[in-house]
Symmetry: C2
Subunit: 250 residues, 2 copies
DNA sequence: CCGGAGGTTTGATCCGGATCAAGGCCGGAT
DNA sequence: ATCCGGCCTTGATCCGGATCAAACCTCCGG
């Protein structure tokens, strides 16, 4: 396991505050591996043996039932996933597959459970991470239950823009097919609705989005801090680097 | 604050393992209050000043946006809610109102944040609680995205039955109106679909449900451990008493 | 005992979004 | 360069569930 990778992981909110010796204990028996795109990393229902940290690339978390499938979140470097399952030592609720060629660190979940009992700072960081993940899924559930698909799309675009520092034009970070599934609709519906939003302040050019009239788009989305705004960095554990869909840790 | 109430709270998984002195610290400045039915206890967006523990009664957690409203969970005695918001010291994402006359303990969230830094056992209990809540919302989100309303209703009835030890007949725990909102549909749709399920092994008599043919009902619901089965008691913190919709802690 | 308010049911209709089907586009492999 | 497969779009149609409306039931207060 390379030094510069370890120090990059060390900078994650989850690992930043723990004691050096405990950090070393945690990553004893951990290993990094490069995976090609499109590979299934974990399958829902499997025992939670490893916490996964994405060092490079992108990973999709998805759920399946009765032959249907939907994507629940996308984890970008540097972020971790399936923390909650590891902590409870219970089966994964979601599957994960690489979207790009990715480098993933696998941390034995037994290390995890052992270390946070000994290192209070790490325990606090875990608490903060889990609380943040929980709040992020609650937001997602609220959005699914309260907004229709036009509103979800408009709000998603505005969130993206906010995460890019308010830029008006930016590339969509994932395939539209995936985006549709994440937002809880079919690709056809996404395609049509994006078209429809052209008369409401949004222009789509291939995989690029341009907000042409923010006020009109906001009139559709009706942005709400309690759904759309990510939590500010928590006071508990310093800054928060988690990405746009940061609830990816179960 | 009465002794027998304190000892009942002490038995909750969240508080069971902490040191007695820290338990006392935590409940210093806490108070109990009895509220009538239908009262709003917390409003989404308010600062998270108190962890709430339901000692008696039932509380609905619900979310609102743009004039619409939906119920996210129901918390029964003895259970707590809005833990995650208190820990992060951030605004509540959901509102809460009493369904029945209820007795609620309010624990200052500053106590909470102070104590779990000092008491590792309590920190572990909080981690376990949050991880459990997180997994419960993920289950809820999976259900919303993967099952249609007929399947959600059938699965809900089977979960209820399981929580009653497998009984075939039992009363519905809440108004149908609430149930519909929790399951993400209108009351009309719930009513009609319950009727439709009479040819699939379910009989509804007023507020009482009777499973007349479990196999047929299961054929509709296609129960799945990764959606329907609550987590077994975690190895971290002893038994788990959380209720049917146990993800009510943000 | 009556009256009223809210919850529930039922019916009729509407609409958002899914499904089915076909073409077009782009990118990677040969 | 060309072929092919997956993604994206567009169109036509279908269906699940929402909405609107009205009757009913039930519980509670006067």
């Amino acid at each position: 396991m390379r030094q510069h990778e370890l120090s990059e992981i060390r900078r994650l909110p989850l690992f930043r505050t723990m004691q050096p010796a405990h950090f070393d204990d945690l990553f004893l028996g951990a290993y990094v591996h490069a995976f090609p795109a499109g590979l299934e990393l974990v399958r829902q229902g499997d025992p939670a043996d490893f916490l996964h940290v994405v060092v490079e690339g992108q990973v999709e978390l998805y759920a399946g039932w009765a032959g249907r499938e939907c994507t629940m979140a996308i984890v970008r470097a540097v972020g971790s996933f399936i923390l909650a399952a590891c902590i409870r030592d219970q089966p994964y609720l979601m599957s994960a597959r690489t979207l790009d060629r990715s480098r993933i660190v696998l941390v034995p979940s037994s290390n995890l459970r052992a270390v946070f009992r000994r290192d209070p700072d790490f325990a606090v960081a875990v608490i903060d991470e889990l609380a943040g993940c929980y709040r992020a899924v609650v937001r997602h559930a609220k959005e699914l239950k309260l907004r229709n698909s036009r509103e979800r799309i408009a709000a998603y675009i505005l969130r993206l823009s906010a995460s890019m520092g308010g830029a008006a034009g930016f590339p969509l970070p994932v395939e539209k097919r995936l985006l549709a599934s994440y937002l809880g609709m079919t690709p056809e519906n996404l395609s049509r609705t994006l078209r429809l939003l052209e008369s409401h302040g949004l222009k789509i050019d291939g995989s690029r989005a341009i907000i042409t009239d923010r006020a009109r788009l906001a009139a559709v989305a009706v942005p709400d801090n309690l759904i759309d705004r990510p939590d500010r960095p928590s006071p508990l554990a310093g800054g928060n680097l988690t990405s746009d869909a940061p609830f990816a840790k179960a």
